[in-house]
Symmetry: C2
Subunit: 367 residues, 2 copies
Amino acid sequence: MSTLNDVARLAGVSTMTVSRVINDSGHTSPVTRARVNKAIAELGYMPNALARQLRSRRTKTIALVLTDITNPFFTTLARGVEDAARTRGYAVMFCNTDESELEELEYVRVLIQRRVDGILLVPATSSSGSLQLLHDHGLPVVVIDRRAHSWQVDQIRTDSEAGAYSLVRHLLDLGHRRIAVLAGPQNVSTSADRVAGYHRAMDEQHLPPESQQVIFGEYNEASGFEMIQRVLASSPRPTALFATNNFIAFGAMRALHAAGIRTPEDMSIAVFDDLPAGWTFDPFLTVVSQPAYEIGRQAAELMLGRLASDQPIDPRTVVLPSALIVRRSTAPPPPENAASSWEPTAATPREAPSLALQTSGPTENHA
Amino acid sequence: MSTLNDVARLAGVSTMTVSRVINDSGHTSPVTRARVNKAIAELGYMPNALARQLRSRRTKTIALVLTDITNPFFTTLARGVEDAARTRGYAVMFCNTDESELEELEYVRVLIQRRVDGILLVPATSSSGSLQLLHDHGLPVVVIDRRAHSWQVDQIRTDSEAGAYSLVRHLLDLGHRRIAVLAGPQNVSTSADRVAGYHRAMDEQHLPPESQQVIFGEYNEASGFEMIQRVLASSPRPTALFATNNFIAFGAMRALHAAGIRTPEDMSIAVFDDLPAGWTFDPFLTVVSQPAYEIGRQAAELMLGRLASDQPIDPRTVVLPSALIVRRSTAPPPPENAASSWEPTAATPREAPSLALQTSGPTENHA
DNA sequence: GCGGGCAATGTTATCGTTATCAGTCTTCCG
DNA sequence: CGGAAGACTGATAACGATAACATTGCCCGC
């Protein structure tokens, strides 16, 4: 692969002159420029970005460290980051931590070594180690989606508390009084905030503690499935569920389906996080939807603005609103006296045959 | 940020010795190693990957250039690539081309400049320009998902023709005789192959040309919606549809829903591409499912194997099978004499109220 | 006792750019 | 016509690491 030197020799000028031409940094005569450009074209010369980055101490690269890109919320967010970064000439590196603090730290180390200009981070639980390390190395950080405890970094997230409040309010307005929460990990701020929003809505109604049921699990389908078992074992049973993310909701729905409990006739379910529009021809779940693309875009903007500025910028926190979308998974509760008579015999799954295919069929082997 | 030199000075050794220690390349005494490691810890030294890469002429980075990461097929595939790359110490850069040959070429240029070790490419239409450029610069390429014409590169994809054949065979076995294809772009190989599989199945039955209807569009929801209008305008109308990707299917379902045509009672629909398991609690569509994660993983393996080998490797082509999953969107056709009497008045959407919310609700603003 | 072999360490050049400073050549004005 | 300002160009030294070769010191066997 040809270098600046090759171009310089072919054009009969010095390397600096070629450098000036390709960087368009002035002080070159039109004649020289033409000669150099001709040589560049002739050789198919491509500047070596590594050498440039080493010399100029900027890589024009940012990293997006998140928990799992296959979660559609993060996929859309990632797209927002990439689009914003690209228009400013930045490249993006994506890293999946799978909610592991160790993986996260490992990635942060690699990214520091690769000298990325900044990191957009969805912290795995309380990842103070990574933030400390990044701080020590003077790398700018934007914390996305989750709250960072007491660190002086930019932050951007949805208002989880308010979103949860509006979702639970909606259930209360329908007449529900016993509402259970299927929460994510207790030490993840989004989960905690959504539970807080739930408590605020419930407390406003002066509902007794026994109306409130909070179950902590994980943000995935299997956990949603499990948590339902505990709901069904409780007595009196809740008439509505609040799932704090979409994967939990899917697991819950599958479990209810399997138990012969109909939604929303027997039990309502309201969910934090929507699926992207167009992925379902007939959306069913009542949700609070987050502006995922916009979060990603603005996170990148926060970072790029900071990188472009030549003076220090005070840490900023952006909290975006969510939107309640009422669909068909929520309805008024069944009459109170019928509450104890739910039996699998009375309710068969609406469309039985498909279920086995979903769970056992040869689908994605996402090991 | 401290350098090798700083460490060397602090440890009282030469830079080469430090280099030997951090690379574990032998010829260092335990005493020296300890001293160096102490100095490294003291300074919080992080090797500069840029300098290493410049000197060693390898970046340990590969790129995945695809059309749109928000397509769940590609998201899962990307995850497979990342997981495989990471276990071998490689980083991955993701790039979205949005099916634009120009964007693709732009990205390829950037990636060459950044000296990535290799590129995994989902070519946008017939992107011979990018492949030529990559070839000229001696960069190894793995073409994913789509066929590359006549270029000597590794390739990996699903057997689209066979998958389409089995899907159409399934429709024929149910008794359908007039089946329309909602295809993607004519010049994208997956689309062409799926249409070819359709033709093979239809021709086997010696069906007259007028039974066959192929409509070319794009791989997105809007296009699926549009294509249905042409299906509905045709006479005699087909009794079944074959959508060549999931987005097309979603658009088609929305359009059928809007037109008051029931699935599968009035019209069956069979689809290429599934949604990841666990994203829907009650999957409805009969599909052919691709092993997306595995495609990504193996694509990365092909590349990394080539990069690790010190001798040339002949181009390889891997074609993975797809899996037919029969669900509820396909059924035998309605009685023939009723075929011409379909009128919106006779069929109201099963669950009407939700539709407006889907299309006009404040969901992701994915601009 | 001496040369060969080997482990440990150091020196120098280099990867491909750009920053910096130092020329050279016009040009223009007094 | 001389000199200074300005435009253009080049030489040299980094950026931070590693490759390649050189050196030192020690052990060993004959």
